[in-house]
Amino acid sequence: MTNQYKEIALNGLWKQNSGVVQLLGMCPTLAVTTSAVNGLSLGLATAIVMALSNGSVSPVRQFVPSEIRVPVFILVIATLVTVIDMSLNAFAHPLHKVLGIFIPLIVVNCIVLARVESFAAKNDAVPSLLDGFMMGTGLALVLGVLGGLRELVGKGTLFSGLDLVFGPAAKQFVLTVNTDYHGFLLAVLPPGAFLGLGSLIALRNWIEIRKTAKTNAASDLSQPALIN
């Protein structure tokens, strides 16, 4: 049982990472990641939606005829997103202003429906909930890193706008790397999103290739007869 959960977590965070492996949900990935805080916040909102939608679709999956499963799933996701949208607006108004139109867009983020359809519709509630959360967290991490990269290169700061999430007291955590830095505009503009995402995908692939090369080399040494 614990193995299954470990597998789910590993899948969401690394093996099947929605940001750099499955490449689903590119719209928010590219559009919102102008700063680390923006990327992380939207990523976390997506993770919550994914966990809740997976968790709520799974227990009712046997009542949903296969012909109407997609409309029902979309209905569940849309309801959850609207609830989160309204709650953010009510209790974290400044953040809501920043993320603005992207919150409702979570509804049409393919990764949410993809996990509901491919995982929650076939598995029990608890693993489904975990799967949604881990997939969302994987995406949030990619969004955060990409946002941080673009912010650092583009504006020379890190975590700017943190005060919008945690109140004015958080302003002291904003890192300014170089006060003389005039910014590299390209990184903040849309091309920077593509270049940054491309670099992240390349980095992940490079790590994977090195890992497989290493394990191959290791097995070469221990069992030379089995290879070939």
Binding site: F63, V64, M86, A90, H93, G154
Partner: protein, 226 residues
């Protein structure tokens, strides 16, 4: 599995309806419990914005509800009815907060909030919304630069209309090289808002004595092309 097509259709429809019903009920419930906080936080955000351009000491009325509705106006660049908030101190008009739109920015409309004191001088200007290039034209936004504060204490009597231009065009307003279109549009919009204020001063000042109930003025706006 002897299910007729009709039975199957019925079952499917009922399932869909049940889910729609549950979804709607959930939404209605959350709408109810978030409505008051949302209204409160919107009000708070608006007041915080007003505070930036008009000091709290300048008025003692309920700024949010003391409003005049203005019909679409070419001088304000508005295509719909906009709201002007009237600030009063000891029942005397102390100033007006106008919403103006510049249509000639680099990309899309630039929405401005302009506070004008009763004597016609500007108390402050803020950009409410814009789509200018990040890092280039966005210095008109207070979060990216102090440029917008150039308008503080400006007025038509202090600076004649022909000086309401960026320096490149022979005016008095600074700009950043590489992004002239944006400040040009903002300067023009603020100038036009001041002209609107001068032309409609009487209407803005005499309307709505009742500070709790917003009412719609019926007086025509002066200086407008039909």
């Amino acid at each position: 599995m002897a299910e007729t097509p009709i039975q199957h259709t019925l079952k499917t429809t009922v399932t869909m309806m049940v889910f729609a019903l549950i979804g709607t009920a959930l939404l209605a419930y959350f709408f109810e419990i978030t409505r008051v906080p949302i209204e409160a936080s919107e009000k708070e955000a608006r007041l915080a914005l007003f505070k930036q351009i008009l000091p709290e000491s300048a008025y003692d009325n309920a700024l949010l509800t003391d409003v005049v509705e203005l019909p679409p106006s070419a001088l304000l660049g508005s295509q719909h009815t906009t709201i002007a908030n009237i600030a009063r101190l000891n029942h005397q008009v102390a100033g007006v907060i106008l919403e103006a739109v510049a249509h000639d920015g680099y990309s899309g409309d630039i929405k401005l909030l302009i506070a004008i004191r009763a004597d016609g001088s500007i108390s402050g200007v803020r950009v409410l919304a814009h789509k200018e290039t990040p890092g280039l034209g966005d210095y008109i936004d207070i979060t990216h630069g102090k440029w917008i504060q150039l308008f503080n204490d400006e007025s038509l009597s202090k600076s004649p209309p022909q000086s309401w231009q960026v320096k490149k065009d022979g005016g008095k307003f600074d700009y950043m090289v590489g992004a002239t279109i944006t400040p040009r549009a903002v300067v023009k919009a603020v100038l036009k808002a001041l002209e609107f204020f001068e032309k409609n001063k009487k209407m803005l000042f005499t309307e709505v004595k009742n500070t709790t109930l917003p009412s719609v003025p019926s007086m025509p706006i002066q200086g407008e092309k039909p």
